[in-house]
């Protein structure tokens, strides 16, 4: 996915000299190709993120098309006020790329992990939030972001997972991408790294319909309303806090349109406790396949119509 990002950026910068990349001294090796292909469009703003975002706003006001690269723990979190006041308020076409979202930097600790970035930005007017699941979605998201007329946050999580799609899907503002159709009682809506997990876990409930949400804001409320109408429960999955992210957004729509059971799978209200590999930390947060399956089963067991969600014994056997 990082390669897809880099290639899309290099192609855009070659096509349009107004495209400039700002980085807060991050992106070692990632930008080698960009620096070689478009050295004049590369700006290392130093270890100074607040100024970097303000400068990006000024560049956009001056007619350029800046892309601000940072770790998602810093862009947007450290510079939230600059994004609000300098970028969003004026609806400037600034792309903010938050790399390593979620717990990707598992062994570096809390400073480098971000499970609150989507929640922080969702409350800011005008900024769109994209969260691709694989390289194909990344290319589509980059094309959307670079053609946008206002601010966009592009959340790049774990980048070396297997592809979800065989070819670039049709990604557009607000739109969900169906990755498995089905007419069973459960619908699954996942974003980023959790799409793959959703596909795997959903096999245990036959007939599950699974969607990827490469765009978290805006969301197609009518489409989600329809999903609520045609399924008995919706499972939302993200490598992000259960507060304020995709799950919250889905639950808000469900509550307003057609009260539906919404199970939010994500990081509970806690920081990572231990050091370890990415897989270890996903497990610590209950976001690995087995833990997610258990949480979903427990959620469904509490519902009045629990019997209609009987998982497939065969699928369970397969998974075991």
């Amino acid at each position: 996915m990082r390669n897809a990002f880099s290639q899309a950026l290099v192609a855009a910068a070659k096509r349009d000299e107004r495209v400039v990349l700002l980085t807060g001294d991050h992106g070692y090796a990632l930008f080698d190709e960009f620096r070689q292909a478009c050295p004049r469009q590369y700006i290392n703003a130093g270890v100074a993120e607040q100024n970097m975002v303000g400068v990006a706003a000024g560049l956009a006001k001056g007619g350029l098309r800046p892309l601000v690269y940072g770790l998602s723990a810093f862009v947007p979190i450290r510079v939230l006020e600059q994004i609000k006041l300098d970028v969003c308020y004026e609806q400037l076409p600034v792309v903010l790329l938050g790399d390593g979202a979620g717990v990707v930097y598992s062994s570096l600790g809390t400073s480098h992990q971000s499970t609150e970035d989507v929640a922080a930005l969702r409350a800011l007017p005008h900024v769109a939030i994209l969260s691709p699941a694989d390289a194909h979605e990344m290319i589509a998201c980059m094309n959307l972001a670079l053609g946008a007329t206002g601010p966009v946050y592009l959340r790049m999580g774990k980048s070396d997972l297997d592809a979800v799609h065989a070819a670039p899907p049709a990604v557009d503002w607000g739109r969900l991408v169906c990755v498995r159709s089905g007419s069973g009682p459960l619908a699954w809506i996942a974003t980023g790294s959790m799409v793959k997990t959703a596909l795997t876990v959903a096999e245990r409930w036959p007939g599950s319909e699974v969607f990827s949400a490469p765009c978290i804001k805006p969301l197609d409320e009518a489409a989600i309303g329809n999903i609520c109408r045609s399924h008995e429960a919706v499972i939302a999955l993200e490598e992000h806090s259960i507060y304020g992210g995709l799950g919250s957004a889905v639950a808000e729509i469900a509550a307003a349109q057609l009260p539906t059971w919404v199970c939010r799978i994500g990081v509970q209200d806690r920081f990572s406790q231990y050091c370890g590999s990415y897989q270890y930390l996903m497990q610590e947060h209950g976001l690995n396949v087995d833990a997610v399956a258990k949480q979903v089963a427990a959620f469904l067991a509490r519902l009045p119509q629990a019997a209609s969600f009987a998982p497939s014994a065969a699928a369970n056997k397969r998974a075991a």
Partner: protein
């Protein structure tokens, strides 16, 4: 032809502040001559406040915005009627700089933002190959913000010689003198140390300001430029000068009348 007469500008500020019962009068008064000189003889605004090739006046110190409103009135961008309804329900002029108002380049009030945006504007002009300049006004309280110093590092590193930083050094911030709140010592020396081509000037001496800025923008070097303008907070009305209560005090009928009377030209005062 607008004159940007400091007395008239201060009277406009007082009318607004009285009409809206607003604070920050003293913050605007220290800026008046700086604004007057910039609008009268430094800024090239072309077709107006949204002209694409204009010079930019970035008021990073958004608390002084009434001084800029007063100048925009002289330019014909704001009407007396609009100023008289300052702070009224449903009006567009806010108590702090807001970029949605043509003529105001940045939204400020949260401090330490505008200079970075100005640096970005200067960099954009450089990349587009235009000769646009950016004049960015910061307060000496505002420069407590770390982002100001980030912006200066960046401007010097990228040799943004089309940036002119103006420090309104009035010696006060919200809760007291800069010396007692957060003593920055010799501000000009710090700017020199950061690599800016720096001058000190009396911020209420229009001729000196004009001369200094004119020479500075022509100075043959690749450094960004800085003017440390020594000013008096509340300048122009005797009972407001260097009395920091006027950061937050609102006008009464009595103080409004007394302040307006002080701003009459000497001849008018004698005749009265």
């Amino acid at each position: 032809m607008p004159h940007f007469d400091p007395r008239e500008l201060r009277k406009t500020v007082l009318r607004m502040a009285y009409a809206g019962s607003t604070v920050h009068i003293a913050c605007a008064f220290s800026l008046i001559e700086i604004m007057a000189v910039l609008y009268r003889s430094q800024l090239r605004l072309g077709d107006g406040p949204r002209a694409v090739d204009r010079d930019y006046l970035v008021l990073s110190k958004g608390h002084g915005v009434m001084a800029q409103y007063a100048c925009l009135r002289e330019l014909g961008c704001l009407t007396d009627d609009e100023l008289a309804r300052y702070f009224g329900d449903g009006t567009r002029l806010k108590g702090l700089s807001d970029a949605h108002v043509p003529g105001l380049e940045v939204s400020s009030g949260s401090l330490g933002h505008g200079l970075s945006v100005g640096v970005g504007l200067a960099l954009a002009a450089r990349r587009k190959g235009t000769d646009q300049r950016v004049f960015a006004i910061v307060g000496d309280g505002e420069i407590n913000e770390g982002s100001i110093w980030e912006a200066l590092l960046f401007a010097v590193h990228f040799e943004l010689s089309n940036l002119v930083l103006i420090v309104d050094e009035n010696g006060f911030q919200a809760m007291g003198s800069t010396e007692e709140v957060m003593n920055l010592g010799d501000v000009a020396a710090k700017l020199v140390a950061f690599g800016l081509e720096t001058r000190r000037v009396d911020g209420h001496d229009e001729a000196a300001l004009d001369r200094t800025i004119s020479a500075l923008v022509r100075h043959p070097c690749r450094r960004p430029r800085a003017v440390v303008a020594r000013t008096v907070k509340g300048k122009g009305v005797s009972f407001m000068e260097a009395d920091n209560r006027w950061h937050y005090t609102r006008l009464t009928a009595e103080t409004y009348a007394a302040a307006m009377a002080e701003l009459e030209p000497p001849a008018a005062k004698e005749a009265a």
